[in-house]
Symmetry: C2
Amino acid sequence: MDSGKIFRIGFLGMGTVAQGVWKHLQANREIMRQRLGGEIELAKACVRDISKRRAVEIPESKLTQDPYEIINDPSIDIVCELMGGTGKALELTLAALRAGKVVVSANKAVICSHGAEIFAEARKCGGAYFFEASVAGGIPIIKVLREGLIANRFSLIYGILNGTCNYILTRMERENATYETILKDARRLGYVEADESLDIDGWDAAHKIAILAYLAHGCWIGTDKMLVTGIRGIRLEDMIWARDFNCRVKLIAAIRKLENGALFASVYPALLPLTDVVANVNEVYNAVSLNGDVVGRTVHIGRGAGQDATASAVIADISDALKYLLGAPAQMSVADLAEPRMATLDEVDGDFYLRFEVEDKAGVLATIASVLAKEDISIKLLHQRKHDSSGKAWIVMTTHKTTEGAIKKACQSLSSLPVVSSEPFVIRIFDSQV
Amino acid sequence: MDSGKIFRIGFLGMGTVAQGVWKHLQANREIMRQRLGGEIELAKACVRDISKRRAVEIPESKLTQDPYEIINDPSIDIVCELMGGTGKALELTLAALRAGKVVVSANKAVICSHGAEIFAEARKCGGAYFFEASVAGGIPIIKVLREGLIANRFSLIYGILNGTCNYILTRMERENATYETILKDARRLGYVEADESLDIDGWDAAHKIAILAYLAHGCWIGTDKMLVTGIRGIRLEDMIWARDFNCRVKLIAAIRKLENGALFASVYPALLPLTDVVANVNEVYNAVSLNGDVVGRTVHIGRGAGQDATASAVIADISDALKYLLGAPAQMSVADLAEPRMATLDEVDGDFYLRFEVEDKAGVLATIASVLAKEDISIKLLHQRKHDSSGKAWIVMTTHKTTEGAIKKACQSLSSLPVVSSEPFVIRIFDSQV
């Protein structure tokens, strides 16, 4: 079949990912024509600097510095927003939707902070908005979640959503290296975003879990309503001690629906048992585990970033945009739920691993134990590990089931004790049961 | 959005999977209406015995024994073929397509043996044919392969496609149990198909890899053109000795495109390194690893069978059928390649693990070594392991890179040696590089 139509694509931004899309689309025109019956034309790209040399050759006649030359061009059908950022990207996305364009985006930040507005505009304008590349790079997780598993409700979605953190943790463990050493190397390799806190402190993963939460539960959860901790506090010793529990430390993003209906969204370092496939996903790879009420558990693994992996996802969106232009119904009318109830820390329970430094003297353990007892926290295992330096020791312990709230209070009490000389570092023992 | 249309579904067959679909569709009507703008109605089911009690209650007015009451009913839009088998299923599928129905199927056997005919008919009739449930149960692998990863060519696809075999291998390894013991248990639990050879000898996995090969390469590869070996010959000792190589034995189905363009399709027991996530997929779970030229490697894991997992896939297809009926272009016009060139055994290389029984006497190793040398096979590691019974020993060896052809000839020569008292059992050391 062949509709004979040619659909024209305009690009906002021509950075690494956009160049990858341009390159691979040129190679894939024929297959998309065969499979979908629509042809595509790379029509125009808006860039900051027209004369800049690029790895992909684009005729100067197709370049512009004015995004509205693309948005207001009635011959352009699809706009790829690959410029990033939130301010200008939001303005142009809304303008493109209002101009009747189908918009494809890889911009998790703008979706996370303005998703409700963008989707409302898309619905109102009869346009469509595709964003596969915004979560987990090349893994087609958005398509899996809302099409392949459409029959399901998801009580738990969790996974590794930040490749940079996974790369750092993997190398720390493999090379017995400290966090600082590997972080330096990751910076050198260009793996860390300019705003390092996005990666290291978990905000990038938080943006992505917010998008998955929207798809699964139909509501937008701000990162301010999540429990977000990054990998900054992880010590090499944690990686090593994790092995004693047959576990591995991973930065896990999760959205869980509690039995009482409340949602809990989080990003934190967690101990995953080595028997969990997610624990065996290393380096820059991402993994997403979906617990569906019909299908059971599925897990999807792939590269979470990089030019080609992200381009693969953008091209999948362009192909869906084509299908939409050829008559497919829009697929984004997830019912917007009323404001969801977010779980309080006292509702969320689990087992915990705590690690902190103490003065190595008599009576310390008794003091610690009484602090924990006050919060009804029952110790499962406690290990005092000698420092090589004098006078201090590490306490490593795991708890029986308790709540996030109790752990938070206990940590506050512990850090105020004179004998405790480091802020307690918490690693959740991840519960993948639903 | 809401098109206000109601689409009517008829079922051919009302067995376990169909009942799962019926049950979950009733629960999901509203969400599909919200997401797709089309409503569905469970219109009619063709069964062998109308009066039979079923777990799902279906009013007698919706039951028929005549499939043509569904196929020739102009008010029915979608036909779900969930009866299985090849003869009658083919006839009814073609008849339904000719009657203008959209057909959804979970029937891998009929697709594998008559796919070319079915797809040609679907194209000719302007109908559409969806078959997500035919491969890897609840994993939406067909959607991932042809939509989510549309930008990619696949040089290697491999994975665990038969849950029954994976269950048997997992339990053998965990419980140090023999193949026969666990097979008996799997039978008792109803995990083994009535025709056991389908599972145990690899034919079920071969059907599934044929479908993935079609999607990736656009051609139908008959199982007669594949190298197919099941798990029947695996001994507990192989599972144990695999650990010495940091590997696990899995039944792996694969379709590989060699550098020279030839295709090699296979199902065989293979040693996978424990660092491969696929090696850590156990019990009845399936896993599919896709190596795309743009995205790199992605892996997808989930339940490969069972009422609910399969129903999840069928419902995803019904939702795609709805989209098609609402105007989406058909997605099956993969170019049918000319007859592909299948690789000869001499073109396919790799490392191998061989295990066979010999008379434990002087000179045996020299004889064996000379047989292998004749085929230019270089031994990497050779281990003679004593039997507890007298006079015999196991030879376990691995080879350096050689070809399938050389191994085949060497095994023939070995088994004709008087000192070799068991057919050599071959386990491929799986090469996941592309």
